[in-house]
Structure formats: structure tokens, C-alpha cells
């Protein structure tokens, strides 16, 4: 391996192969990219918080999960791209995506389901590991909840597969953050 930087891997963590265009669902799904519970906010939250974790196990966990969230951005973005691919202006308009088309055509852009652009105020860094990890647990639960709403809103198996899988990752991340939180709390590590 010869590389002195963060490395891109030319494969998805979980496969996405959506055969049917679905603009209405793309409009809802985009929140898991750029909404309050989205993967972009998750990646930035953990990758910023990790510097002030009190020990290396905390720095390791937040680096690893923060990096995984980048891979989840790639999964959601792939889904959005495939859901919107080859959509005509008329189809975009009919699906309520005229304003998206005006600014972005068929490109990907991080917003919530109402088209409100991503904002860094979705997350905080406090420099306090217990406060940060509490936020991280809440963030994983919120993302899980939104994935469940999205699962309720579709019956396309090509969409359900990745959504169920991403939802499960929120559950694993929550458990790992809680373990770390309990470890710091029990051992009074600040």
C-alpha cells in the first residue's frame, strides 16, 4: 500500500442496484444524506469530536465510525443517483422536484426531505466526552427512526435492502458508543 492520505475504495460497503426510477422516494431519502439524522452530519460529528476524546480507544472508535459514515454517504448518494437517473424535467416537476432541478438538475445535493440545505448546526462538539457521546447515541437513534419511516414508505425490494442494512448499522453504532460512554463514566475518565 503506497498512499499517504485517506483512501477511497472503488466499491460500496453494501451493494445498491435500483432498477426503477422513483423521484418521489428520492425526495424523501435525501434527508439521510443532508438532513438532521443524515450520514453527512454523522460523519462530520464523529470526525470532529474524535480529536478531544480522552484516550486512544475513543479516538479509534470515533475515527472508525466516522469513516464508516463516509461509506454510508456513498451508499445513500448511489441510491439517490439511481433513483433520479434519466429523469426528465417534466418528471422532476411532477414529483415536486422543480426547485431541485432549477438549482441542481439531476445532481446530488445534501438537503433534508423539504429541500432545506445541510447545516453544520445539526451537530455539536463540546470537548466533553460524555456530552459528545450522549449526542452520538441520540444521533444514531434519530437516524434509526428516520430509516424506519423510510422503510414504511416503500415496498421496492431494491430500496428496502440497503435501508434495512443501514438501519442495522445505527443499532451497532449506538451499542458501541454506549459501551464507550459507560466505560468513561464508570472509570471517571474525562
Amino acid at each position: 500500500m503506497i498512499n499517504n492520505m485517506w483512501q477511497y475504495e472503488k466499491k460500496l460497503q453494501y451493494p445498491v442496484n435500483i432498477k426503477n426510477k422513483n423521484l418521489k422516494f428520492a425526495k424523501q431519502l435525501v434527508t439521510q444524506y443532508g438532513g438532521f439524522g443524515g450520514e453527512l452530519g454523522a460523519a462530520l460529528r464523529y470526525l470532529n469530536q474524535r480529536y478531544t476524546m480522552p484516550d486512544n480507544r475513543g479516538k479509534a472508535l470515533l475515527t472508525d465510525i466516522g469513516t464508516e459514515e463516509l461509506a454510508h454517504i456513498e451508499i445513500i448518494s448511489t441510491m439517490l443517483y439511481q433513483l433520479m437517473k434519466d429523469a426528465t424535467v417534466e418528471e422532476m416537476e411532477k414529483a415536486g422536484l422543480a426547485s431541485h432541478y432549477a438549482e441542481h438538475k439531476n445532481a446530488i445535493y445534501p438537503t433534508d426531505a423539504n429541500g432545506v440545505p445541510f447545516t453544520v448546526t445539526y451537530f455539536a462538539t463540546t470537548g466533553d466526552p460524555l456530552a459528545d457521546l450522549s449526542e452520538d447515541m441520540a444521533a444514531e437513534e434519530k437516524a434509526r427512526s428516520v430509516y424506519e419511516s423510510l422503510i414504511d414508505l416503500t415496498d421496492d425490494p431494491d430500496i428496502l435492502g440497503p435501508l434495512l442494512w443501514l438501519r442495522q448499522r445505527e443499532i451497532v453504532h449506538f451499542a458501541r458508543f454506549k459501551e464507550l460512554y459507560d466505560y468513561y463514566k464508570f472509570n471517571n475518565i474525562k
Binding site: N3, E9, K10, E68, K85, D86, G161, R176
Partner: protein, 148 residues
């Protein structure tokens, strides 16, 4: 095909190995690990953490080409190693889980080499030494439905 992992058979063999490994393990004995295929399709290697939503079962990933089959084998091993790595971040002294991590990691590396020989580089640093710049030739993972 026989030099590749048959993911169903592989899975069962592997679960036996892991269950054996987990006897007297620091990881809770009641909560066995999933095999790489099972864990991968669920998105969770740790059966005690698995949480099913309503009646939804995980999608069974069935490869439709030799490339997809190889990629599935690679992805499930990468995922198994990675999910164990998150556990190890919090439990760095769990030697048995470290052994398992190393085992999956090694198997993944072998399959990655095999995949790259046939279907092009997965990472820039894995490009083969020849006169062709093949990084920009092979497709990107979001491409589909006749993308060029």
C-alpha cells in the same frame, strides 16, 4: 468456481469455527457471532445486538455474475473484520476476537487480490504495475443501468 468461497457452505463451517472459538471467550457465550455471510446481509455480526424491524428480514444477496459473487465474498469478509474491529476498539484485550479479526482480514486480502486481477483496482494504491492507467477505466460503484 471451486477456488472461491461458496458462501452458504462457507458460512456454516465458519459458524462452527466461531462457536468453538467462543467457548470460554470473554465475549458472552450466549450471544454467538454470525458467520460472515449471515452477518453481512444483516449488517450486524453480533447476534445479541441484532434488532429486526417489524417483519422485515434482511435481503438475501444473490450474486448474478462471477464478478458479483467474488465481490460478495470480499464484502462479507471485509464487513466481518470491520464489525469486529469496532468491538475491539472498546475491548482491545479480547485475544480471541483479535484472532478472528486477523483471520477475516487475511481472507479478505486474498480475495481482494483475486478480484483486482480480474476486474481492476479497488484502491488507487492497488493498481498493477504496467503501462495502463486502469484506475480511470473501470466503472465507479454507483454506475448502473447502462452508464458509460
Amino acid at each position: 468456481m471451486d477456488n472461491r468461497l461458496d458462501f452458504d457452505n462457507y458460512n456454516y463451517q465458519d459458524m462452527n469455527y466461531i462457536n468453538e472459538l467462543l467457548l470460554n471467550n470473554s465475549y458472552d457465550n450466549k450471544n454467538k457471532l454470525a458467520g460472515p455471510y449471515d452477518g453481512y446481509i444483516k449488517g450486524n455480526m453480533f447476534n445479541n445486538l441484532y434488532d429486526q424491524y417489524k417483519n422485515y428480514k434482511p435481503a438475501r444477496l444473490i450474486p448474478s455474475s462471477e464478478e458479483e459473487e467474488l465481490l460478495l465474498n470480499l464484502n462479507q469478509l471485509c464487513f466481518a473484520a470491520y464489525d469486529i474491529r469496532l468491538y475491539l476498539d472498546n475491548h482491545p484485550d479480547d485475544k480471541r476476537m483479535l484472532d478472528l479479526f486477523n483471520k477475516y482480514q487475511m481472507q479478505a486480502k486474498e480475495i481482494e487480490k483475486e478480484y483486482e486481477n480480474m476486474y481492476g483496482p479497488i484502491s488507487m494504491s492497488d493498481m498493477k504495475e504496467n503501462n495502463q492507467f486502469n484506475w480511470a477505466i473501470y466503472n465507479f460503484p454507483w454506475m448502473d443501468r447502462g452508464d458509460k
